[in-house]
């Protein structure tokens, strides 16, 4: 059906080998080059990547494994990854594991079976041992958002992000500061909780457990827990919500309860500048450099793919940014 090297060779009267060389950028006689190119155009010849892959043992694809495709944070990163990889001739198998630990391993194996050249993974609970197969096959692995033992990693300084946000509230004069964290099983959630606790401690504040709620990183959780915290007889004067979905839920809940930001409650949210800027008053948020995370991970993988194993395993800890809005003022 589709034209092959053989067709081009035949049409030009040259050999397959010569045509192959031309395609791979090896010098051929100028006049031949022209004839080959013409034949390629006429026949609409395109390299069969599968055949090439079989020969070169490189599929020019990388796998990207994320908890969920239906999550803005993940997909923003993937979007950046895909762009970089694509610019370098790689294509991307994107897999989600539905935040399901079993499926996580499952999909990882699946990617391996697809003979990807490298893998970028946002792990939740996959045990290090399951990754051995990749390591042993010499397939580069880059972990994002959460660290993995003995693996190149790109993440943000979650502890510091949370520390700074909390400190920001403290400096505004708050002492009764609420926080909605993520699941204790998730690394980022633990780190963000740590940052909050440390900041409180460093200021000599003893946090009230009534102000601390562990959420699930999902919108409904943020909504419900915000109500819980605010319904307390002595609600906090400031609230810090530690991811995007829960921030959305919190804002909706506060609107419903007619709790005015920042008059009744100072507020710091997480991620998604766009949303933060649209809300009135503009929300003060912790912003993660999603595009940079993706780009850094992709660049790193590309480097490993090219055989450069310098400084392995490296840990890129990117900085978050506290974007000031109008949602934090002094408590009454």
């Amino acid at each position: 059906m589709a034209a092959t090297l053989w067709d081009v060779a035949k049409q030009t009267g040259l050999s397959i080998a010569t045509v192959s060389k031309y395609i791979n950028g090896i010098r051929v006689k100028e006049s031949n080059a022209a004839r080959i190119q013409q034949a390629i155009d006429e026949l609409g010849y395109r390299v069969n990547m599968i055949a090439r892959g079989l020969k070169t043992n490189r599929s020019m694809t990388v796998g990207v494994l994320i908890p969920s495709l239906v999550n803005l944070f993940s997909t923003s990163i993937v979007s950046a990854i895909e762009r970089v990889l694509q610019e370098n001739g790689y294509s991307t198998f994107i897999c989600d594991y539905n935040s399901d630990p079993e499926m996580e391993e499952n999909r990882f194996r699946f990617l391996m079976d697809k003979s990807v050249d490298g893998i970028i993974i946002m792990p939740t609970s996959i045990p290090e041992t399951s990754l051995d197969r990749a390591v042993q096959s010499g397939i580069p692995l880059v972990s994002i958002d959460r660290p993995l033992e003995g693996t190149d990693t790109v993440l943000v300084d979650n502890f510091l992000a949370s520390y700074e946000a909390t400190q920001h509230l403290i400096q505004a004069g708050h002492r009764r500061i609420g926080i909605i964290t993520g699941p204790g099983t998730i690394y980022t959630a633990r780190e963000r909780y740590r940052g909050y606790m440390q900041a409180m401690k460093d200021s000599g504040i003893d946090p009230d457990p009534a102000c601390i709620r562990q959420g699930d990183y999902e919108l409904p959780g943020g909504h419900a827990l915000t109500r819980e915290i605010l319904d307390h007889t002595e609600p906090p004067t400031a609230l810090f919500v530690t991811n995007y979905e829960m921030t959305l839920g919190a804002v909706i809940a506060l609107n419903e309860m007619n709790v005015s930001i920042p008059r009744d409650l100072s507020f710091i949210g997480f991620d998604n500048l766009e949303m933060a800027q649209i809300i009135k008053p503009r929300l003060t948020i912790v912003m993660q450099p999603v595009a940079l995370i993706g780009k850094t991970a992709a660049d790193l993988l590309l480097r490993r793919l090219s055989g450069d194993m310098q400084d392995f395993p490296v840990l890129h800890r990117l900085k978050t940014e506290l974007i000031p809005g109008d949602s934090v003022i002094q408590p009454k």
Copy 2:
């Protein structure tokens, strides 16, 4: 490095062909089957999909092309597609074209070059002629969300969805009904606009242009246009917003403006039941069956992939659902 058929054959003392047969589910002697399986386990043998693909001329991958990876509607569909495909042994190349017409063609060609077995595309502006290559290569194509000439298509009845929503407002007694539509370049936006106009017309209402705004399907647009419409000297008594992002923007804007739903304004939004249920009062929304769209498209593609070209090209027009909330009441 990795074990091949040859290794397994050698270890078992059988021939490559026999091992291959076993792997492909062709009966071999029971005792041999056991030996082969054991060797496979011991060696950690896994089929080389690339080699198999070269031989069978099927890569067992399909391409999915969407405008954006950073859009809940798209990714929800993709998520469903991926699930179905994966269950059937296919893997998925997900590409986004950043809502950029040039890139759209670009990425389409890219997928073709990757010798995918089939393609599911959510097209924006790709000309039918660009798809010829797929058609000529015999690569099945399924279009989602928007119809494509001569192509299997899965979409929802946008006209009816909008008609019903508008009618719902009219039946509640509204006559001054605002709408925020999407870009005129996008099929769904045009259809939703048509549905609104038709419903108004069928009830003998002449819509006021001041109540009609064309948005961009993005959150900030919904936000800004809601303010515009409400700032009018004679604002509508009801507002219909025609996609998720803009609905989010509209709700935020209304909260800011202290416009109470439904007391001051009846409201119908679009998509994302989760959000609609969390907002108080619960939003009445038009819901698209995203999971079903994905599943239908994947099933259809799978059918074409298996050679069943019955009723080609078929158009699946799925039904949306108007989910009643508490955001629509009679106007004052």
